[in-house]
Symmetry: C2
Subunit: 203 residues, 2 copies
């Protein structure tokens, strides 16, 4: 099975005039820098416009609402992450052993989900995690399980490895149970090793 | 580790006068029978009142809103399910081997989540799956993993077994990927066996 390189990146925009694309990019960079500096709650359409040096109307024309801008930021960030998985440096990208890539993938997915936590919430319905993102991660994990020679129902095993990395589960573990992040990561690594072991390994 | 029998059942109501409790029970039974016969969308407060032979005002006084009634139904059903797990007949209840109980638990949890699917949606925020339900299931799976002699971080392994049974994951598998239900159940059984195998089993 060859690596699914031809999958279109999530959020690839339809062709835009170059200055419009630049404009959009500038607004997303402005919004992200505001969030990094002041937190999601301070990212207002006015503040983004001021930081990017454009009128507020331009920001609304481009993203319709604050929720729309949040969703665009999420998409932008998911696209960058997908690109890193598919063609970035190892061990997340190609070039490392499949087990090393799988463990790097899990840690990176977990961190990215936690980093986007507030953004997902702020984007409301517009930002609900899309099946496109899920499909990308499922296809990638399935590919790596195949490379590892795992036998069994690989799509379902991929799902089993991805499910504990979903936000509600992570929130339960980190915020409610108060498990340290390292413990959650170690637990996931242990799960991967249990899933990958060959079942007919002689006792 | 002894079985966590002393855990209070979810949704145990505060003490009510006996006739009020009977009244409440009658309304829940009426609502459930309407849903079973006509679907969640036809369960109106008027229809529930008519079926139970009381005024609409009584239904509203009791549950405040349609969402409130849906949430009460969910709680009622979760309580019955928890009672079946803790003291019902084997293999879901006590008396069967731990592996048999664990597999019966997974299938039953999956079926209950799917059965309540529409109810969860209709209950809106009032019905968002509570951490109390999650804690009960996590404690039970952790107990069974202990009985099976599994070594490792049992709370995290319990989470890993429960996460693929959450509704968004099941919906992705059944409604989007169109996997048959049996395949999803088989996948979960395979996951359990992989997780339970002793890691230091000599190769």
């Amino acid at each position: 099975m060859s690596e699914p390189r031809l999958l279109p990146l999530l959020g690839d925009p339809p062709p835009e005039r170059r200055d419009a694309a630049r404009n959009r990019e500038a607004l997303l960079v402005a919004a992200q820098s505001l969030i990094d500096e002041c937190g999601v709650e301070h990212m207002t359409m006015e503040a983004v416009a001021a930081r990017a040096g454009v009128g507020k109307g331009t920001v609304f024309r481009r993203f319709e609402s604050r929720e729309g801008l949040m969703a665009a930021l999420l998409n932008h960030s998911e696209s960058a992450w997908q690109a890193a998985v598919m063609s970035g440096p190892p061990p997340l990208g190609p070039g490392a052993e499949p087990m090393e890539r799988l463990l790097a993938f899990g840690r990176s997915r977990l961190e990215s989900t936690l980093r986007h936590h507030e953004l997902v919430r702020a984007a409301g319905r517009a930002g609900s995690r899309s099946y496109a993102v899920w499909s990308f991660t499922a296809m990638h994990v399935r590919y790596l399980l195949g490379e590892l020679g795992v036998e069994g129902d690989l799509p379902l095993l991929a799902t089993a490895l991805l499910a504990p990395l979903e936000l509600p589960i992570l929130e339960q573990q980190l915020s409610v149970e108060k498990f340290p992040l390292d413990r959650v990561v170690d637990g996931w690594v242990d799960l991967v090793h249990r899933v990958v072991r060959t079942p007919d390994q002689p006792a």
